[in-house]
Assembly symmetry: C2
Homo-oligomer: 290 residues x 2
Amino acid sequence: MALFSSLTPVFIAIICVLIGVIMKKSGEKEKRDTKSKHPSRLWVDEDLKDGTDHPLEEEEGEEEWQGLEENVAHVLFTGERYSEAEMIERSQTFYELLNKRRSVRFLSDEPVPREVIDNVIRTAGTSPSGAHTEPWTFVVVQDPYLKHKIREIVEEEEEINYKKRMGDRWVNDLKRLRTNWIKEYLDTAPYLILIFKQVYGRLPNGKKKTHYYNEISVSIACGILLAALQNAGLYTVTSTPLNCGPQLRVLLQRPANEKLLLLLPVGYPRKDATVPALTRKPLEDIMVVM
Amino acid sequence: MALFSSLTPVFIAIICVLIGVIMKKSGEKEKRDTKSKHPSRLWVDEDLKDGTDHPLEEEEGEEEWQGLEENVAHVLFTGERYSEAEMIERSQTFYELLNKRRSVRFLSDEPVPREVIDNVIRTAGTSPSGAHTEPWTFVVVQDPYLKHKIREIVEEEEEINYKKRMGDRWVNDLKRLRTNWIKEYLDTAPYLILIFKQVYGRLPNGKKKTHYYNEISVSIACGILLAALQNAGLYTVTSTPLNCGPQLRVLLQRPANEKLLLLLPVGYPRKDATVPALTRKPLEDIMVVM
């Protein structure tokens, strides 16, 4: 990365402005050319919209995620190279590490070193993203009052979900199985990581900047985050707080272009933590070789 | 996992049928209760639809991804536990490994051990998924003829994209920068991994089974796949073949419930491979602590 140091911030700013001008021109042309050819297509999940949304006009994405990156210098690249035996061994060891991961919803209140949280989020930030827009914000909540407010919002919505959406029979069945709308881990976990996708950005001239494939990009970053947590010996449960996004966004003072994608409580498993006795599909059920 | 062996396939089948009955009943109730309350919401990206789609009726997802898992036995869980110093060191080392990852589109034709490919896909399969539906299919293409057919399909669409969608000025600018619709890596990479999301599944009784949050789930699995590739010393470029999904699905004989999400060519960087001189956002630009 030493080669990159010649790219001073000023140079980068000039490039950004140039990209903005080029995109604007081509965007105008594109609108004329294709407006009627492409039927309506949504970039943003409807369920993550809220009243303050400013939906972008529909735009086509880049096929390759490096589209905008083409406007900067190119440098030679040589990656790590291992022997074949090393590759097999490394891939096997990594599989065994990640195969021990389970979603854990019984988390203790033991403190976790903040440096580890910084490192796992740094790691998530190495993810690729559409046109290198890096459209993610990781909000780490450690304040007990805020955690409790989040719990109140999530539980209130979840109670409505359970009472309105599920039939009596299902709710009764779930009672026996100890599942309900109570999310104790939102209080006990030392950290809650709320991951927001930035559905658009801002160009230096203040205009909106398309964040191509932002939901896929941020989800990929979350996959890398889950791998980093497992590698560090930390546990979580992947949750998508249905209908809570707008309230949580306002609580956490995130701008309107950010939509909540996932909420990950992070900590150590409680001594009495349990997980469902599930198995995973074998390789032959998920892979096809041609 | 030894504890799980008591769950014989027969037992699992019985549970599945029970889940099916419960879901059907609650689904019927849900429809009556909420039909008018929730405005239209799309689960499936419009751009990945094709003429053979059988869209599911709209359904609400589970908030926690383990919803359906509640119907199986629960077992005590104790994860790996490292000292704080170890956690910090492990998280730092993993960050440094993944921070070396770059999207590489100049891939050599050197063969890669198949066992490594198996292991990285096994690793991706450890990803969490909405209600443990594991809604992914990884199609690994090594046959030169098929790879070339894929290249033809992708390049044809991409040429249309370039000629129709981009303004003359943008195309001219890109010419200087060596970007066009030619994707040589689709021929040269020893493996192409095409990742399909299963937008719905089948219950034992043949009825459609909702795959909650299938796009997010499969994207998370791809994040874990990218981490596994980097760990093994393999390189790729994350691509979303716009408008090619239906043709590639038919070419690879995938069923109509599967939609192409990503295409990853996998191999070693060519000796003369270059990458754009990009930097990543610093931690303070992607993380907010409260």
